[in-house]
Each structure stands twice: as structure tokens, then as C-alpha cells.
């Protein structure tokens, strides 16, 4: 298909680049536009009036605004994995190849079956669903809800992963200027000339704000020329950062602002290595909010008809985009500003058929303007209803000042109900805006520390005030940030008046009058809400959904409030205030995530032997942020259990090696190091001899076990503590708390050395033989020289300094060898070759787990944050001679009750049965119910040494019930077997193997 001609493009003017033509498609129809167009302006230039369908009634909707406040013209932009639902056509910068589809309609935008909802509208009023769909109960999920869900929701999101990337960045500045219209440009110039580091952001792709859309003259230049000069000066200043396509969407504590930069949204796809969008976190010493104002509507019958447009938006399309939204226009304005439309239409050759101004008397100049335009003037008149079809407007019913109704044929209606200052950012920290009667609008109340409001956002709508405000507040902001500012002179601009007569809603409309276009909230809905008692502004909002759509009611909220005020006989400020929460405009979820998705969701910590383990084909497992080798499958092993069994058997029968570097390691020095350890561990450490290691458990202050591990005394004033992998950082923080907050008088120095050391457990009857081959001559590691629970410093592999701990998690003769992490890779290779003659295996976390379960060592599954030391069989370690963290609270009756689930071992009565962690224990023959619940299995493993499954668990009075049988009840896996309670130590209970 050949594109249609741009039938509504004005022959000249506008800020578009006519030298280049861009092709795009809307609902499959090929069209063209120019650089500088938005999708909305290009649609208008192509004569397309109908842009979308509304949420509830599927009413045909056109383009209402020219900015981010747009409630109607929402489209699905792009396709496939890049499909973006609910995209405002008014903010989409046109690019070549753009594809957009209208949404919430079937089968087509022009003919939408769901528009029957409009016929049912007498039923579908505010809150109707709260009153019905209750019977029969099961029908809600099956029938009503799916219907409602399908009908609601506007656009369709893609179901494929977002293919584009996002990133985040930080910025710091003296003065952040939010909004690059005349006020913002002037504030930025003023602050920059004082030497301040300025960031100027604007959501548009071009700076200038209303200067782009109005026929202003500043200092004798056109507004656009003045703007170009201002931007040029700012661009030349290295202390100024100009950020186009960047919306400051939120204000947060201590002058932190969130901003979204649309880096690649104006391109078909982002450039190589470039993100689609970038989330900026800007910390500003001072901020100037120059976000302008949003023109608001007047509520009348059919005010949502395609062809009805905000007057300022119409001027934007005519002046900035050289596109004519209408050919025979009506203008409905209650203020002087709206009258600018007439002059602009005359210039553009658009016929103004009628001007309806509800004010009883208007300035003479406007009368003359109406005459010049050849427009009928309805002074004191009202538009009651607008009539038309999905294709556009046909006529308006005007109620004259004498009470007569007249129909005027028009194909477009421009509406101005006045302006609402854009004060959203002043409210993000909780402040409420305040009402100003003279402009009939809310302005900022308390502003967040460091933020000032300038220009139209303060309610000073005329250009002259805006420029003056920018000059003054820009200079003041620079001054407050520590600069000496000389405020530049205020550029000259002509005077403007507002002359607003508030008009929120026209009475006597015969057709539906909309307050919130996107959520289809009508004036009548507000009447119903009031009748039913939903009078508080928050109730009104929540009951009717007023202001809760993607535009957050930027054009609607105050009208709704005013209607409620009129119904209840209160003033607007008595009725309530509008408030705003971040974000100012919706922000893509991907932008908040940035780099952190997929594999980059969280950092990955690699062990010193990772590369080697990967070479061996290890299966890896996430352990917190660490990746650890879980097992090392050999060729032919397809089942994990086969590999793990082989590893366990090898360790128990010969020797194995496991990277245990992930355990936390804390170096503790100082004269009082032992004292600190005495206070954090339940058992004593100050009397531990140098060269010895001791197991310790520490409690939280509430008496529950926090962590456990071994601590070695390296010197009189030096220990190295090990923690569990999971709790390494938590324990470090806890120790720092104990030292800095509780006992600052102690001479203790602590630092994490987790990452400094590669640490390998070498376990099994041939462990010493293997070690012997690695350590350099002169070191004696015999049982005599280095007995169980001893530590010594050595060198290995020809000079690598290391520490050798004689400790064991597996229950075998075992050592942990620590070497500087850079040698971890080399040393594990050396260990493997040294142990080769003994049949050494590398073993992973699974085999490690099997062996610790066989030995009854509690680990993560048992140290679950609710178990006491006594529950875990560590009660005897609790010193009676000293204070330690948690000692007092551990004695509470609830924690000393012998009926508490405590640690025991479990074996299946039928040895062929498999045990499952998470099974609950019930008495034999007991009915499966909560009252019969006696505890639960915490850890299980298949013991290749015993050839059956073994388990650890916490069961009522566990230590005293060895030999008793109970049920291990596991209904979520259809398990229900008999198990026998036993000692939690399954292998070598005397510990003879440790000490050989």
C-alpha cells in the first residue's frame, strides 16, 4: 500500500524537518511524517482522528493533548518482544519504520464489538461490581472475573523477554532544573552563569516547552529563536549537563531525584552497546521545579468525542507540528489564554466557526479577534454536548447566555478550562498542595528541603513572570549551593492575562460527560459516589477509579474534586486535595532493574578452584552468592547419587579434597581478642592454647543459635574464626557491633579474610599421606606434632605459605589447608596429583553434606533461626562461668522446655525406604493432625557406608527417645514411612577416626 498524503499537514511553518520523510504504520496503514513529529502529530497530519478505545465503555477516543498528560491516545508501539502497551502517542517521537496499533478494541478500531458496553452503561456505573457477581460463589473465578479481566486492561504486553538492555547512573549537581521551558531555561542560565554545576532535564526531545507551541516574542525574537540561543549558551558551558528525553519522575529523601532518560526510544532499536533507557539517580544540592502547568478540561456531554482537544494542544499541533487537527473549529474557553487559539488558527488558515466563552463579559480585543476570524461569539455561552462518531466531531450544542440551545457544525473543538500547575514532585515526600482561589488551582504547599518551584508550576502562567521567576530562582539556587550569583536581566516579553472564570462542569448535558477519560469516570459516577457516602476525596478516587489511570488524572482530578465540592456544598479545599505519588509519568520496570537481570541479577562469587572444577565438569550449585561444585560426575555417571556415593566412599576409604573457601574467615587480633570471643561464643576461648582450634557456637541476644564454626588461636593475641558460608557477613557485622557498640573499651581488631585464603578440606584415611607430599620439608604433621584440633603454619608446593588446620567435618582424619587465594587453582591441582596414588577424589557440597549428616553435625537446615543450643545438643557447651551474648534470654521457659523439638538421628525401619527432609513426625498410628505433630526431618542423605538413608531431625524430647519408632509423614510427596529414632551420629561415634 502506498502511504496516504499528509492531508492535514499545513503548507508551511512548524518545527519539523520537511526535508526528510519518515514512514510509519498505524493499524497496518502506511503513513508518513517528518523528523520533529510525534506519533500523535503525524497521525493528525495524516487526518487520523480516532486513536483508541476507552477502558470500560470502549468509546472511540481521539487525541486530547500534546504531552505526557494524554489520557486517550494510547497505542501498542513496536511489535513482538518489543511491544510496548499503553504508549502515549503524544510523547512518541516519530522514527522511520515505526509500527503502532490501537488497543482495547476488537475486531477493529473503527468497529469495536465491545462498544456494546456503552449500551450497558446504565448498569456499569461506579462501583457496580461491588454489588453483584456474588452468586453463586464458584462463578466468580470461572465466569465473571475472566470476563472482567479480558474486557479491562487496555494494551497487551509482550510475553517474550525484553530484548533491550537498561542501565542506571548517578549524577551530582549544584542545581537541578526540572523542566526546560522558558522558566527552566532561564533558571539554568541564571544558575550556570553563577558557576554552578547545573543539570537541566526535560521530558520532551526538544527544550523550549510552550515556547515551541506558542507564537511568543522574547527580546524581539521569536520564542523558538530565543530558545535556540539559550540552549546554545548552555551547551557551551562545560558545567552544564543538558538532558533531553529525560523525565524527572520522583523526588526522594535528602534531595535525591529519580529521572528516566529515553536513550533509544526514538530509534527503531537501540544502537549497539547502548541501553534502551537509563535510570538516573540525581543528588542535587538545590532543585528548581519548572515543570509548567497542564491545561484542564471542562466537563460537558460528549466531551470525550474524537475531535475534542485541549486548546493548548491544538496550538501545539498547529504551531509546532504544522498539523491541523480540525478545519472548522469551535473554541470553548473560560479564560484569556484559550483565545490565543483564535489568532493561531487565523494564521494557519483554520476556520474558527464559533467561540464559546462562558464569561459574561470578555475584553473588547477578543470580540475583535472573533470578528476577524469570522467566528460566531457566544459570550456567556456554554457547550452542553458534543456530537459525532468514531470518525470525528459533527456538531456542538451551545447553550447561549439567554438559555437557548443552538447547534453549531464543527469538526473540532478546542477546550480550555484553565491550568493546573504541575506540582507532583512537591508532593512526593508527603506534602499536600494548597488551593489558590485567584487562579482556581492547586499550587505547591510545603516543598521538600532544597526544592523551589518556579514559573507556571507556581501558578504564574504568563511568560513575563515565568522568565523573571527563572532568573531569580536560578540565581538563588546557585547562591544556596555556595556560588555568588549575579542574576541576569529578565528578557522582555509581552504581558498576558489569565482572566479565568472557574467552570468545571456544564449542567444540563444530555449525553455522557466524562471526568476521567481513560478510566471512563463520568460526572454521574461522582454523583453516585456522593450518594453512597464516598465523599472523602480518597474514597471518591478509589470507588470511582477517578485519577487512577496511566495519566494519573492530570487533566481530570480537579474537575472531579470540584464536582464533589458542588454536590456536598463545600469548597474545593474543604473537599480535599489532590496528591501525587511517584512516578510523575509511568516508568518501565526494566529501567529500575538496569544491569541486574538474568545471570547479572546478583553478583556471582567464584571459588579459587572454580576454573579447575569447571574443567572437571563439576555440577555447580548456588550457595548464597557463591557458586560451589556440588559433585564431580565421572564419565558414565548419569545419576547424581552415583557420583556422590562414589565421592563419599572414596573419602571414607582413601582420601578426597573439597574447596571450603566459602566459609567465612575473620582475623581477630588484639590484647582482648580472647575476651571478645568469650563474650560472643557460648563456650570459652581465652584459655585456648596457641596452636589449637576449638568448635564454638554463638547465640543471638534472644538466646537462639546464630552461627557456629571453629576458631583457631594463631598467637597469644591473634585468632582466626570460621563461620558458616551463609552467615559470614552477618557474623562480621555482629562482631563489629559487639566491639564498637557494646564493648568499645576492648583492644580488638577484626577484618574479614574470607577471600584471602583458598581453603581445601583434605579428608580420609590417606589425608596425611597426601598432605605429606605437598608440604615443604621440615614440617612435621604427624599425629603427635599436629594432633586433632591443632593448627600450624607451613609452606607447601615449594614455598607457598599456608596454614594447616587439623579439623574435620567429615569425621575422617582430615586437614584444612589454607593458601593465598591466587594459588588455590595450582594447589588443588597439586593436591589431586599428590593424592592420585591413593585414589583421591574431588568431592562437592553434596558429599560434604552426606558426611556431615552421617556425623550428626548441625548445619544450615538445623541452624534455622529457631533452634536453641540445647535443641541442637550443644547445651553442654554453654558456659556457666561467664556472661555471653544470649545467655540470659536462653533461659526463658519457652526455650528450656524439654518438649521442644531437639536433635536426633533417624533411620528408615524398612532400610530400603527413602527419607525426605521436611517430613513431619507423628506417633505410630496417630491421626495426621497438627496436634499429633512431634517435629520434622531437617536433613537426609543416602549413606553409602551404611547402604541406607539416614536423617537428622528435630523431634520432641529427641535425645531421650532413641530406639523409639515414629512415622515420617510427608503428604506433599505422598510419603509415609516408619522411622526409628537414634543417635544423630551414624559413623564412628567414638570419633576414633579423627584422631589417628
Amino acid at each position: 500500500m502506498t502511504p496516504l498524503p499528509q492531508s492535514r499537514r499545513l503548507a508551511s511553518g512548524g518545527l519539523i524537518d520537511r526535508s526528510r520523510t519518515l514512514s510509519f504504520q498505524f493499524d497496518g496503514k502506511p503513513m508518513t511524517g517528518h523528523p520533529g513529529d510525534t506519533l500523535a502529530s503525524a497521525l493528525i497530519a495524516n487526518g487520523t482522528i480516532l486513536a483508541g478505545r476507552s477502558f470500560k465503555y470502549h468509546r472511540p477516543r481521539g487525541i486530547l493533548t500534546a504531552g505526557s498528560e494524554e489520557p486517550n491516545a494510547l497505542v501498542e508501539l513496536r511489535s513482538g518482544a518489543r511491544r510496548e502497551p499503553n504508549t502515549k502517542a503524544t510523547t512518541v517521537e516519530l522514527f522511520d519504520g515505526l509500527v503502532a496499533r490501537s488497543q482495547n478494541r476488537w475486531p477493529s478500531l473503527g468497529f469495536d464489538v465491545m462498544s456494546v458496553n456503552s449500551l450497558l452503561s446504565p448498569i456499569f456505573v461506579a462501583g457496580f461490581y461491588y454489588k453483584t457477581f456474588m452468586w453463586p460463589a464458584a462463578f466468580w473465578e470461572k465466569l465473571y472475573e475472566p470476563l472482567i479481566r479480558r474486557a479491562a486492561g487496555l494494551g497487551r504486553a509482550s510475553r517474550e523477554p525484553d530484548p533491550d538492555s537498561y542501565e542506571k547512573a548517578f549524577a551530582f549537581c549544584d542545581v537541578l532544573v526540572i523542566g526546560g521551558g522558558p522558566t527552566g531555561l532561564m533558571a539554568a542560565l541564571s544558575a550556570a552563569r553563577a558557576g554552578a554545576h547545573v543539570i537541566l532535564c526535560d521530558e520532551d526531545f526538544s527544550f523550549g516547552g510552550r515556547l515551541l507551541s506558542e507564537q511568543f516574542v522574547i527580546d524581539g525574537q521569536s520564542g523558538a529563536d530565543w530558545k535556540a540561543a539559550a540552549v546554545f549558551e548552555l551547551e557551551q558551558n562545560p558545567a552544564v549537563t543538558l538532558m533531553r528525553r529525560t523525565t524527572v519522575f520522583g523526588g526522594y529523601d535528602q534531595s535525591t531525584y529519580g529521572a528516566l532518560e529515553r536513550v533509544g526510544d526514538h530509534l527503531p532499536v537501540p544502537l549497539p552497546h547502548m541501553p534502551r533507557q537509563r535510570l538516573w539517580k540525581i543528588v542535587a544540592k538545590r532543585a528548581v521545579l519548572a515543570a509548567g502547568a497542564v491545561e484542564r478540561q471542562i466537563v460537558f456531554g460528549g466531551n470525550d468525542r474524537p475531535g475534542v482537544m485541549m486548546a493548548s494542544a491544538l496550538r501545539s499541533y498547529v504551531n509546532r507540528f504544522a498539523a491541523a487537527p480540525a478545519q472548522r473549529l469551535g473554541l470553548f474557553t473560560n479564560n484569556d489564554d484559550g483565545w490565543k487559539t483564535v489568532a493561531d488558527c487565523i494564521r494557519a488558515g483554520i476556520k474558527v466557526e464559533a467561540v464559546i466563552d462562558p464569561r459574561p463579559a470578555i475584553p473588547e480585543a477578543f470580540r475583535q479577534l472573533a470578528i476577524q476570524a469570522g467566528a460566531r461569539l457566544f459570550e456567556g455561552g456554554l457547550v452542553q454536548d458534543a456530537h459525532g462518531t468514531a470518525r470525528g466531531l459533527q456538531s456542538i450544542d451551545v447553550m447561549t447566555s439567554t438559555g437557548r440551545t443552538e447547534s453549531v457544525a464543527v469538526d473540532g473543538l478546542a477546550v480550555s478550562g484553565g491550568w493546573n500547575p504541575a506540582v507532583a514532585l512537591t508532593c512526593h515526600l508527603g506534602a499536600r498542595p494548597v488551593w489558590r482561589d485567584d487562579i482556581s488551582a492547586f499550587v505547591a504547599g510545603d516543598t521538600p528541603p532544597g526544592l523551589v518551584v518556579a514559573g507556571a508550576a507556581t501558578g504564574a502562567f504568563d511568560l513575563r513572570s515565568c522568565l523573571a521567576d527563572g532568573v531569580r530562582l536560578g540565581a538563588e539556587a546557585a547562591q544556596a549551593a555556595g556560588f555568588t550569583a549575579v542574576a541576569p536581566t529578565v528578557p522582555a516579553a509581552s504581558e498576558e492575562t489569565l482572566g479565568l472564570m472557574p467552570l468545571w462542569k456544564v449542567t444540563g448535558a444530555r449525553t455522557k460527560a466524562f471526568v476521567d477519560f481513560q478510566n471512563d469516570v463520568t460526572a454521574k459516577d461522582i454523583v453516585i459516589a456522593e450518594r453512597e457516602g464516598f465523599r472523602s476525596v480518597e474514597h471518591l478516587k478509589r470507588y470511582t477509579t477517578l485519577g487512577m489511570a496511566t495519566d494519573q488524572g492530570k487533566t481530570a482530578n480537579v474537575n472531579g474534586l470540584a464536582i464533589m465540592a458542588a454536590l456536598t456544598g463545600r469548597s474545593i479545599p474543604e473537599t480535599g486535595t489532590t496528591t501525587f505519588r511517584p512516578p510523575y509519568t509511568p516508568v518501565a520496570i526494566g529501567a529500575f532493574a538496569g544491569h541486574h537481570r538474568g545471570k547479572h541479577f546478583r553478583p556471582t562469587r567464584l571459588t579459587p578452584s572454580h576454573a579447575w572444577a569447571a574443567e572437571q565438569g563439576a555440577q555447580f550449585v548456588e550457595a548464597g552468592q557463591w557458586l560451589r561444585a556440588q559433585w564431580f560426575p565421572k564419565p558414565g555417571e548419569t545419576d547424581w547419587l552415583t557420583s556422590v556415593n562414589r565421592e563419599v566412599i572414596a573419602v571414607r576409604g582413601a582420601v578426597g579434597v573439597c574447596d571450603v573457601s566459602t566459609l567465612g574467615k575473620i582475623d581477630i587480633q588484639g590484647a582482648d581478642a580472647g575476651t571478645l570471643l568469650d563474650r560472643v561464643y557460648i563456650n570459652g576461648f581465652s584459655a585456648l592454647p596457641v596452636g589449637k582450634v576449638r568448635y564454638g557456637a554463638m547465640l543471638r541476644e534472644d538466646g537462639i543459635v546464630m552461627d557456629d564454626g571453629t576458631t583457631a588461636r594463631l598467637a597469644q593475641d591473634r585468632y582466626v574464626m570460621s563461620t558458616t558460608t551463609a552467615n559470614a557477613a552477618k557474623v562480621m557485622q555482629h562482631l563489629e557491633f559487639c566491639h564498637q557498640v557494646l564493648w568499645p573499651e576492648l583492644d580488638v581488631q577484626m577484618v574479614s579474610v574470607t577471600e584471602q585464603w583458598a581453603q581445601f578440606s583434605i579428608a580420609g584415611p590417606r589425608a596425611r599421606d597426601t598432605i605429606q607430599k605437598l608440604i615443604d620439608p621440615m614440617a612435621d604433621v604427624s599425629n603427635m606434632a599436629l594432633p586433632y584440633m591443632g593448627v600450624t603454619t607451613i609452606t607447601v608446593c615449594g614455598g607457598i605459605p599456608g596454614r594447616l588446620f587439623r579439623i574435620s567435618f567429615s569425621g575422617e582424619l582430615a586437614y584444612e589447608l589454607a593458601v593465598p587465594a591466587r594459588y588455590g587453582d595450582g594447589v588443588i591441582r597439586a593436591i589431586m596429583s599428590a593424592g592420585a596414588e591413593y585414589g583421591i577424589v574431588a568431592y562437592g557440597t553434596e558429599a560434604l553434606g552426606v558426611m556431615r549428616i552421617e556425623k550428626g553435625h548441625p548445619a544450615g537446615n538445623e541452624l534455622n533461626g529457631t533452634a536453641t543450643a540445647r535443641d541442637l545438643g550443644l547445651g553442654k557447651l554453654m558456659s556457666q562461668k561467664k556472661d555471653f551474648i544470649g545467655r540470659v534470654m536462653a533461659e526463658r521457659s519457652g526455650l528450656t522446655n524439654p518438649d521442644r523439638p531437639s536433635l536426633a538421628g533417624f533411620v528408615p525401619v524398612n532400610r530400603a525406604d527413602r527419607l525426605r527432609a521436611g517430613a513431619h513426625f507423628l506417633g505410630l498410628g496417630a491421626h495426621p493432625s497438627a496436634s499429633n505433630d512431634q517435629g520434622y526431618m531437617t536433613s537426609v542423605a543416602f549413606s553409602p557406608s551404611l547402604s541406607h538413608w539416614v536423617g537428622l531431625g528435630l523431634i520432641k524430647n529427641g535425645p531421650n527417645r532413641h530406639g523409639e519408632r515414629v512415622r515420617a509423614y510427608d503428604p506433599v510427596r505422598r510419603g509415609d514411612i516408619e522411622v526409628e529414632i537414634c543417635s544423630p551420629v551414624f559413623i564412628d561415634p567414638e570419633g576414633g577416626r579423627l584422631r589417628v
Binding site: Q254, T256, Q733, E736, F737, R887
Partner: protein, 86 residues
């Protein structure tokens, strides 16, 4: 929210770990009603809506424990100081 660490300077609160009320003090375990005293220390909090002295730990920075006085209604920070001696 920005917290000005006395050592590191101003940083976002996400660099810090929060512990809570800094006005409670660990009791002497030797006092006769130690159980009661520890119960109050571990569990009871004034939880004021307003000025609140609280402990923060600069976990991503210098590992200092800080006492921050902050208004819980506005998040405005009044004072920040290092705890104890280091």
C-alpha cells in the same frame, strides 16, 4: 535517603545495614532482675513518630556503627555520630 557517614561522606542508605533503636543499652547480666531487663532490652521499643536515635552500620563502606538521629515522619536526619571508639 542519604546518610552522611562521618568517615566516608554522604551515601545512600542502601549502603548501610539498619539495626534499630540506639537508646536501649545492654543490661548488666548480674543484676537480680536480669531476665526482665534483657526482655525489655531485646524486645521493647519506644518506636516514636518523630525524632529517633537509631543504629546503622556502614556495611558497604568503612564498617562503622553509627548513631543516627532521624525524624521517622519526614526521614530528615538531625545528627550522625560514630558509636564508641575505633
Amino acid at each position: 535517603m542519604q546518610i552522611e557517614c562521618p568517615f566516608c561522606g554522604k551515601r545512600d542508605a542502601h549502603e548501610f545495614a539498619y539495626l534499630g533503636d540506639a537508646t536501649v543499652a545492654r543490661p548488666d547480666p548480674a543484676v537480680p532482675d536480669a531476665a526482665r531487663a534483657f526482655y525489655e532490652y531485646v524486645y521493647l521499643r519506644d518506636n516514636p513518630a518523630g525524632s529517633h536515635r537509631e543504629l546503622w552500620y556502614h556495611s558497604a563502606g568503612c564498617h562503622s556503627w553509627l548513631v543516627v538521629t532521624r525524624d521517622t515522619r519526614t526521614h530528615a536526619i538531625e545528627t550522625i555520630a560514630q558509636v564508641g571508639a575505633r
